[in-house]
Amino acid sequence: MSAQLDTRAVPAVGSSAASARAAVHRTSLHRQRQWALWGSYAALAVFVVMFLMPPFYTLMTSLKSSAEISAQTGSPWLVKHPTLENFWYLITYPNFQTYYLNSVIITVLTVAVSMVISILAAFSLARMGFWGSNVLSTGVFLTYLIPPSLLFIPLFQIVGWMHLINSVWALVLLYPTLAVPFCTWIMIGYFSSIPRELDEAALIDGAGYLQILTKIFIPVAMPGIIAATIFAFTVAWGQFLYPLAYLYTSNQMVLTVGIISDLIRGDVFQWGKIMAACLLASLPPIVIYAFLMDYYVAGLTAGATKG
């Protein structure tokens, strides 16, 4: 952006006096801009330090032995004798393996179910339409605005009727309600931006609607699908209230709740292990965002700036 501005400021000026004045003006402007730039970097650096303080502390604590933590000497921000024993303990700890596996299974199923439901619905709402489809689009958006904490108590009863209390299947059933509305909303946006000529051409060539969906819409709207998938993943991986309310035995537990219920026993906080567990549990989202952040941000901001 600023490179553009610089080149725009450069064009030569006519008379020598004017050009000298312009040159002075330009260098002072340039200097001003340079200062503004460094100021921005400095301020951003301050924010980065503030924002990354907790993750850094997580990492430091996870590398400490229990003895080092309970000794309570020296700076808690630094680790004196780094060790991987916390990580090793967790990796070989059967309960933690179960939580991890449960989280993975629930997340994969949630993402799959949510994406199928929302892609089909978005295709229908963006392109085909039927009586009341506009109302449904609005309804989908309003559903997205309903937070999980509003309905978890009636859902507790409903889950109870289905005999799914303390079962991972309760989460597989309920998580899509949190993911599908927004995924559908993103997909409607992406599908609507596909030129109508494409599907009309396909219709003339004798393609059915499902063929249009699988051969044209899904490949073209891939960035949107990636964004929606990440959203569904984020919801399913990080949800805390539903597992806390509906699950209670360790064989059905997921990571977000399992770490707290398992590694905190009464007054004994095994902080080294808790922090190592947090790190291991945050790993999948961090890896996914590191590679696919651009798609997600694009999907999210398009959903808001384009509506």
Binding site: L120, A245, K306
Partner: protein, 316 residues
């Protein structure tokens, strides 16, 4: 364009016979809308079964007595309103949501501006670093905050001690604990505002700033007369949306304080969990949750209006 193509389709179809056309067309139309309806069916089942039905069921539940044997009308709501703890919950929920949203919006706006200043090719890495709080699942990062607020050997108290100050009982004193919950929420939510505002900033046409410069506008005037009016809609949508999410927050308060000290940090969600799930008074918990509804509906109405407005603006 689309009309042009459909005219062409008509032209191709004419030779096959004008009389057969209306029938085929209606059949196709009927088939099309039937397929469309079927494609939406899973979505509708999901929404009706797990959102709309539970919503009405919550209303019904909230009017029962604790054992769910008798109908008590609005008794639960009246009972809650008279309870001192619940008055604290209302106050803290509003304080928590409003303070946190204002701080997030301000910080997000400042950071988005700083990001907008630096060259585009460097933005990616800075954005990546600043988005970290938002990427880590909230329930997990709140655990770290809990540990940093630990009274005996806490990260913050150690820093204070280095400057010769006394330990602060971070989560042990009501107002400090309230400030702590807000801090964690701001830390978690600011990156979201940052990316929304950054996207909005990028969509303000450069020509407007140039025109403002030619008219002699300074940086502050550009901010108030170009940037803010252009971003008004997106700011409103983001703030209201965040208000909904923050107001209904559960994770932070539940993990950091579980509502304590003396119920001073309870918000609607955590209080509903405590009375509904932990104490087993499901109707009372349902009633507590429903108190959120008017505020959520109010915010949702304006979010929807903003988004529709925005869609129209972009379509126009």
């Amino acid at each position: 364009m689309a009309d042009g193509t459909s005219v062409a389709v008509g032209a191709i179809e004419t030779p096959s016979g004008r009389t057969a056309r209306p029938g085929t067309m209606t059949r196709i139309a009927r088939r099309k809308s039937t397929i469309a309806f079927l494609l939406c069916l899973p979505l509708m089942v999901l929404i009706v079964g797990f959102v709309i039905y539970p919503a009405f069921y919550a209303l019904y539940l909230s009017m029962l007595n604790k054992k769910m044997t008798a109908f008590v009308g609005l008794g639960n709501f009246a009972f809650l309103l008279k309870r001192h703890t619940f008055q604290l919950v209302i106050f803290q929920s509003c304080l928590f949501a409003i303070t946190a949203v204002i701080l997030k919006a301000l910080l997000g706006f400042i950071i988005a501006h700083l990001m907008h200043n630096i060259p585009g090719k460097n933005q990616r890495i800075w954005r990546g670093l600043l988005l970290v709080p938002w990427v880590i699942p909230l329930a997990l990062s709140t655990l770290t905050w809990w540990w940093m607020f630990d009274p005996s050997y806490s990260a913050f108290n150690w820093i204070l001690n280095q400057f010769g100050m006394d330990n602060v009982p971070w989560l042990g004193v009501g107002w400090i604990a309230r400030a702590c919950t807000i801090t964690v929420n701001v830390w978690f939510g600011t990156p979201f505002f940052m990316i929304m505002y950054l996207a909005a900033l990028k969509s303000v046409p450069e020509a407007l700033y140039e025109a403002a410069s030619i008219d002699g506008a300074g940086a502050r005037q550009k901010l108030f007369f170009v940037t803010l009016p252009m971003m008004r809609n997106i700011i409103a949508i983001t703030v209201l949306f965040s208000l909904i999410v923050t107001f209904a927050d559960f994770d932070i308060v539940r993990i950091l304080t579980a509502g304590g000290p003396q119920d001073m940090t309870h918000v609607f969600a955590t209080y509903a969990f405590q009375i509904g799930i932990q104490s087993g008074d499901i109707p009372l918990g349902a009633a507590d949750s429903l108190f959120m509804f008017p505020i959520l509906a109010f915010a949702a109405f304006f979010v929807l209006r903003g988004v529709t407005q925005r869609t129209k603006d972009i379509a126009a």
